[in-house]
């Protein structure tokens, strides 16, 4: 036995580190339109290959092609473009506000706008998302007030959450947006539970769980897949693979598995991969999975292949762990530019109208920001009361909290 060479530990490494030349040659990109669209009652066993491909609709010439195309009208696409542009503008202003000290922290969506904006349009009123911190497009595409989002970010006197949560951890039951946890992955199994409840009550509403590539390593992810598989819960389980979990490349969480979508195969859950930077593809796949859930065919696992162009958060500097030019080399392009080019190609949009829309959107976001700042920012102006800190721990304040509130003098 002793003549065996010693064992060695395998620690995966990304293809390139800072200073190197970005390399995405390992990301296999099928042609747009090349992946078939199965019927929604398909036997999951027969579409296992979809977990290893990428469903794409927009080709390099800006045309919508293939069996997943043709679902959205010009008006719907123009609206989608406006949602993504609004989210991007909102992010830029809030990043700046954070740098100016108006809030403690911010997380942007740059490059990932299509995922949440398009998915939201495939849902019905009453459906419930269990989001992470990078799906604010779910709120914007649902028409949530930008001022209220900012009130939350600034933790001001109008903060719907009374200053109790960090910036961007919104909550809106009315618009199907579950309160965001700062802990990762916990919401994934909760989405399955919500969906099970809907089935128990013979309701018609469905749930959508959200998780990042890195957090799929948490036990909650696996519990969610087990429960979704066992009870055929009406839920869409979304993995946003933006390649990076703070500084950790997706290979650390993915391990020896071919793709994140492939995690679903062992559970018998249909698993699809989709071009996350293609608004039309995201919408088409979302609609397929949502219809499947609503018609009681059970869960679907969807991996959105995208790229986090910006930093993880305002507390992060990606130059420390990946090449600065890596985002330029990302082979799936920019979701806003791709949809813009498609609309121009369709003859319903132009560079001039795009510029005009950018100015209008900026104007709207700046107006909203002025209004929100009028209600205070983190360190200036109106803020939630200290008394609010003691409220809402329980439906009814127990005696010990009442005593503590009195001690605090509020």
């Amino acid at each position: 036995m002793n003549d065996q060479p010693p064992l060695s530990l395998h620690v995966p490494e990304p293809a390139v580190r800072p200073g190197g030349k970005p390399d995405f040659s390992s990301v296999k990109i099928p042609n747009a339109g090349s992946v078939p669209r199965p019927e929604i009652d398909v036997d999951p066993e027969s579409i296992r290959d979809l977990a290893f491909s990428i469903i794409r609709v927009l080709n390099r010439d800006g045309e919508a092609v293939g069996p997943w195309a043709g679902l959205l009208s010009d008006e719907a696409l123009l609206e989608g473009l406006r949602h993504m542009m609004t989210l991007r503008t909102f992010d830029a202003r809030m990043l700046m506000a954070q740098r100016q000290g108006k809030t403690s922290f911010y997380m942007q969506h740059m490059g990932e706008e299509a995922v949440s904006c398009a998915f939201r349009k495939a849902l019905e009123p009453g459906d419930m998302n269990f989001p992470t911190y990078r799906q604010a497009g779910l709120l914007i595409a649902a028409g949530y007030s930008l001022v209220d989002m900012m009130n939350e970010i600034f933790s001001n006197e109008r903060d719907p959450l009374k200053g109790r949560q960090m910036p961007v951890l919104y909550s809106s039951k009315a618009l199907g947006f579950f309160t965001i946890s700062g802990n990762l992955a916990t919401q994934f199994i909760q989405a399955v539970g919500w969906a099970m409840a809907s089935a128990i009550k013979r309701d018609t509403r469905i749930a959508a769980g959200w998780i990042g590539d890195g957090a799929t390593a948490e036990s909650d992810f696996h519990a969610a897949l087990v429960f979704a598989s066992t009870y055929k819960a009406p839920v869409v389980l979304n993995i946003v693979n933006n390649q990076w979990a703070i500084s950790t490349f997706q290979g650390i969480a993915r391990g020896g598995s071919g793709t994140f979508a492939a995690r679903g195969l062992g559970f018998g859950i249909p698993a699809l991969r989709v071009d996350g930077n293609d608004y039309l593809a995201v919408y088409a796949v979302a609609r397929w999975a949502i219809e499947r859930a609503r018609r009681n065919f059970g869960p679907t696992l969807v991996e959105y292949v995208t790229y986090r162009v910006g930093a993880h958060s305002t507390s992060d500097d990606p130059a420390a762990y990946r090449p600065k030019t890596e985002s330029d080399a990302w082979p799936l392009g920019d979701p806003v530019i791709r949809l813009k080019n498609h609309l121009i190609r369709r003859g319903v949009w132009s560079e001039a109208r795009h510029k005009q829309a950018e100015a209008e959107i900026l104007d709207g976001v700046v107006t909203a920001q002025k209004e929100a700042e009028g209600h205070g920012t983190l360190h200036a102006g109106g803020k939630p009361s200290v008394r609010d800190m003691f409220e809402g721990v329980y439906a009814e304040m127990p005696p010990h909290l009442r005593r503590q509130r009195q001690q605090a003098g509020v």
Binding site: M128, R164, G193, A195, A223, F227, G392
Partner: protein, 339 residues
């Protein structure tokens, strides 16, 4: 009035609530077809159907996480974690999620959830079937923690817990399931059918959370106890002749501080007993509260009698368990001032 075991009373509480409220659902490991390893859910699946009482995969995280999603939807899940010792995989869901939904969403989402867990030792369960983790829950803002000591209370407290708008950890002392165990493990136990607290009213009634009850009035010292330790303290009082006033806390959070303070001010002495380990146990909180509220009435230091700070052992179970002899000795020392 019919007499029931504690398991039957708990089952009756769930039955009553399932009958009254379609939103009450029950699930956990082995709880569906089989009716639970302690039989607490026996017959409920047959009576209410598989969509309201069902078996789950072995995943405490999954059970509690799914239940939180259901509670957010508007159901009232009452789930079972087979042994309190198994709850650790679910702890993040309990602490960071169930306990926080109301607060973090400013009431947009709430979590009316009950997590039932058999707790405590005395059943040769070793370190993984004997723990008393109540202090891990009372330390968490947003949770309520309940420990019944008899069938009548168990049913009423469970109904109150299921109706509560916030998450409740419902710890069932498993050694009390069949009778009021007083720590004399070498003697036969009295079954609940021979005990007045085995008389369980029919139908719906509540025992409100946050109300302690005096099990034995006395003048010499106050005993703060819950669950199995109530009977150990009763035995210790009988065997030592110390005129102890024994308070069954029933609910640790919310806590009936008024009842505690009134009693200690009367007796001037206080002994706290629990089965859980000593350091940072719930007794530490009780001791601090007694000191803060009754300092000038105290005639002796507050005394804690608890499990030792070791894992719960198998062969040495009765050396670990704070039985009537150890509790009685503490009574005598506190009363005599010989500490």
């Amino acid at each position: 009035m019919p007499r029931k075991t504690m398991v039957e009373a708990i089952r009756d509480g769930m039955d009553v609530m399932m009958e009254r409220d379609d939103n009450v659902v029950i699930f956990g490991e082995d709880v569906g077809y089989f009716g639970g390893v302690f039989r607490a859910t026996q017959g409920l699946q047959a009576k209410y159907g598989k969509s309201r009482c069902f078996d789950t995969p072995i995943s405490e995280l999954g059970i509690v996480g799914a239940a939180i999603g259901m509670a957010a939807y508007g159901l009232r899940p009452c789930v079972e974690v087979q042994f309190a010792d198994y709850m650790y995989p679910a702890y993040d869901q309990i602490v960071s999620e169930a306990a926080r939904l109301r607060y973090r969403s400013n009431g947009d989402f709430t979590c009316p959830l009950v997590v039932r867990m058999p707790t405590g030792g005395g059943i040769s369960g070793g370190q993984t079937h004997s723990q008393s983790p109540e202090a891990l829950f009372t330390h968490v803002s947003g949770l309520k923690t309940v420990v019944p000591s008899n069938p009548k209370d168990a049913k009423g407290l469970l109904i109150a817990s299921i109706e509560d708008p916030d998450p409740v950890i419902f710890l069932e002392p498993k050694r009390l399931y069949n009778g009021p165990f007083d720590g004399h493990h070498d003697r036969p136990i009295t079954p609940w059918s021979k005990h007045e607290l085995g008389e369980v009213p029919e139908g719906h009634y509540r025992v409100p959370l946050g109300q302690a009850v005096i099990r034995r009035e006395g003048a010499a010292l106050t005993v703060l106890a819950y669950g199995t330790m109530v009977y150990v303290a009763m035995a210790a009082a009988a065997e030592t002749g110390v005129d102890a006033e024994i308070i069954d806390l029933r609910s640790l959070l919310p806590l009936d501080l008024e009842a505690i303070v009134a009693s200690v001010r009367k007796t001037g002495r206080c002994v706290i007993v629990h089965e859980a380990t000593l350091t940072s146990g719930f007794g530490a909180e009780l001791s601090a509260l007694v000191q803060e509220n009754c300092f000038f009435e105290l005639e002796a230091p507050v005394r804690r009698v608890t499990g030792w700070d070791t894992p719960y052992p198998h062969a040495q179970e009765w050396d670990y368990f704070p039985g009537p002899e150890r509790v009685g000795r503490a009574f005598l020392e506190v009363v005599s001032g010989d500490q």
